[in-house]
């Protein structure tokens, strides 16, 4: 089975949010409130238990030229965010029930009939994607439209995208397409376009990767994400040391100090 991916090209995104709507409709994701955030035209603000695709509205300085506007208008960048479907996924490693699995398409999928809502995936996702839905109790995130992929269809968001900003397909083919695209953009003078895919970190790359302009951190795409399993070794070593000292200290204390004659234990029985 081929490993599939999302290549989201922010230079083609027009901020229409058709992907957010298509995702909600196909996956029957509940409403997440009707709140005016005051942050550009973004009122959903981020990925969460009830927002699995999220269009970011990044406001950049005025820049004339490729992709820019007239000098009296700001430059807008839109980028549709989604679960990154990490190569080394913190949520999948941490899930104690085995609810979170790797599908045959390489995606990271939460089995809703297994999840017991322990909340550990929420704190082990380095991208703040997974969240527990309060009225349901289980954790939710993008399923990579596992059901549609099994039926040979593309995910709802990619299908709905009117500008092909969201491309879905074979991961390696998408990476080649991204390389070609970035070369084309650079040749056209858009030199601040970069591809965000943290392949040289412990995350080992993501199956959903992005082409953005400027600093990826402006899009809340961290430069050096770490999969939390990297902290396991120092933490368990510390725990083993602590356990050894605890045991040794207890043995030593009782060996060194004889029972006190003033002991007045009453017992519980």
């Amino acid at each position: 089975m081929t490993t599939t991916g999302f290549f989201t090209d922010s230079t083609l995104c027009i901020g229409c949010k058709a992907c957010e709507v298509a995702c909600k409709e196909w996956n029957d994701v509940p409403s997440d409130g009707f709140v005016f955030s005051g942050k550009s035209y973004d009122n959903t603000l981020g990925l969460g238990h009830s927002t699995w695709r999220h269009v970011k509205f990044v406001e950049l300085e005025t820049k004339i030229g490729a992709g820019g506007n007239a000098p009296d208008f700001m430059t807008w960048q839109f980028s549709s965010d989604v679960c990154k479907h990490c190569e080394h996924a913190g949520c999948l490693e941490a899930c104690p029930t085995g609810s979170i699995i790797r599908t045959e398409f390489g995606g990271v999928y939460i089995q809703p009939d297994i999840c017991n809502g322990c909340g550990y995936c929420v704190v082990t996702c380095p991208f703040g994607v997974v969240d527990r839905r309060p009225d349901d109790g289980r954790a939710f995130k993008c399923t990579f439209c596992y059901d549609r992929q099994k039926a040979g269809e593309q995910p709802a968001c990619a299908k709905a995208c009117p500008t092909q900003s969201i491309l879905f397909g074979d991961l390696e083919e998408l990476e080649r397409a991204a390389d070609a695209r970035i070369a084309k953009l650079h040749a056209a003078g858009m030199t601040d376009a970069t591809i965000w895919n943290p392949k040289d970190t412990s995350v080992g790359g993501t199956h959903a990767f992005f082409l953005v302009r400027g600093e990826p951190s402006r899009y809340n795409l961290p430069a050096k994400p770490e999969v939390p399993t990297t902290y396991l070794e120092p933490a368990w070593k510390a725990a083993a040391t602590a356990a050894g000292v605890l045991l040794g200290a207890a043995l030593l204390a009782f060996a060194l100090f004889p029972p006190s004659p003033r002991r007045a234990g009453r017992g519980l029985g």
């Binding site: 017991n116 809340n220 045991l247 006190s260 002991r263």
Partner: protein, 275 residues
Amino acid sequence: MTALSYHDLPLLKSPVWTWEVPAYFFVGGAAGAAAVIGATAQLTGAGKDLVRDARWIAAAGAGLSAPLLISDLGRPERFLHMLRVFKPQSPMSVGAWTLAAFSSFAAAAAFADLVRRKTDWPVKLAGDASAMLSAATGLVMATYSGVLIGATAIPVWNRHASILPVHFGASALGSAVSLLELRDHRHSALNALGLGAALFETIADVALEGSLAVRIAGAFSGPIPLALRLLGARKGAAVSTLIGSLLTRFAWIEEGKTSHALRLREPVGEGSPRR
């Protein structure tokens, strides 16, 4: 200069855990350390009363732990899914299995003690074996909660991944000693262990970079009981240690709920969250 994040919104999600989790860290840790004290006291021939009370504290703590953890689940009725798989790479999976084993052994050890006192059935060997196994799993109970929060994406937790297990282990030992002392056990070994735990907690309270809440909580399990023990006020020290040990765990969980925003103030574009 451009901002370092998207509309100053946090990248990470805040932990969804409620009060049950830090309460469990406290209860489970104290129970685990009590099992260790009970087993070592037995091995070294210390008083029978001490051994018996340690076993009962371990069993009581184990009995409280599971309900606390289950009530924090989003779907409590699915708690048995925790034992569907065993994943060594998941501290929560390791913890769930350890708690299951520890609870069984601690309950068996206490029950054997009860049976021995009420009947003349030959349960001593089974009880002692259970007590030793509860001590072995109790060592994990006392320390793994530090691994559980250390191996996460939350910066203030993972920065302390290699100290939190020791910190929690020391305060678990202090708590177990304190509970036994409040049951009127005056064995000098308990005071020595209490002194050692309080000394380590005093150093940790100074060395760890934490909020004011973490430091105040640490004072109750570090310098305050250390001073009280040196003055001979063992029961006062015991009460202070228990309060500090409970507060410390609440403070650390709360610290994680605020530190997800720290990710913004760090130079996101440059370094890793690890030091």
